[in-house]
Subunit: 171 residues, 2 copies
Amino acid sequence: MSTEQEPTTPQDELSQVPSTQQPEAEDHAAALDELQDRWRRALADLDNLRKRHAKELERERAAERARTAAAWLPILDNLDLALAHAGSDPSAVLEGVKAVRDQAVDVMRRLGYPRYEETGVPFDPTRHEVVVAADDPDAEPNTVVQVVRPGYGEGENQLRPAAVMVSKRQE
Amino acid sequence: MSTEQEPTTPQDELSQVPSTQQPEAEDHAAALDELQDRWRRALADLDNLRKRHAKELERERAAERARTAAAWLPILDNLDLALAHAGSDPSAVLEGVKAVRDQAVDVMRRLGYPRYEETGVPFDPTRHEVVVAADDPDAEPNTVVQVVRPGYGEGENQLRPAAVMVSKRQE
């Protein structure tokens, strides 16, 4: 019983099944045997497909994990480089680390999780998590006045909301 | 036609199928109809399983990507923190960056890709990529004398081999 063979559609195969109107009992028995065989094969295909899917799922998960982790290799390499050159010039290290941070933000963006840290925008409960409500007479009420921790990704692809300070609503 | 219903095993259902030895043509026709119905249902299940699996695969890929990327959020946060405190004390920045690098190496390890950068070990083509063969009279021949770039992960989970300098084989 081949498991690789694609089953044909019901329409295709049914047209080849001997008619149920045939008068001879022998023909009926043969038709029944053939149908039983096809049905058994379909159930076996179903079973094999399930097993194959479970394996495929595991393989794809591992591949996605490897792809995502590999995107961070340059960050690690550049942290190593920044530290290797640390002895010579501390301010150069600082520049190097800034560049690595920007590169890491870009890795997140390319993976589908852009960073957001805007202030002055209206509070949005789907993107912002309020850590403190601030009394700020100069700010519009219910507005992000400071981002304590940036957010990454949006909607279904949100890794985390931005942690923000929001101006109080006017009483 | 329900797609959620688990099909019973061929053994179960075949035992309920009227015997092919029944003499009456009517009974045969009924048995044939029932078998056709079961077979059609199995093919429909097969089709639905395929569609469901394609969706599941996409969902699981996205979930794995999010899980893996989220492991890097603390690294980004700590790079931000190191830079935020940069003005005060350059040597403190250096300590902070070292800690971030070690943390990043640990993220890789937890994701299943431990770092390796040993020297003095025999050259292993599955873990090492030779960037240069060195004349080193003090070293055992065919030994890793320097790691130019660490490797991450091993075997099936290898992200990349270590780039190394290897002492030449003795002539």
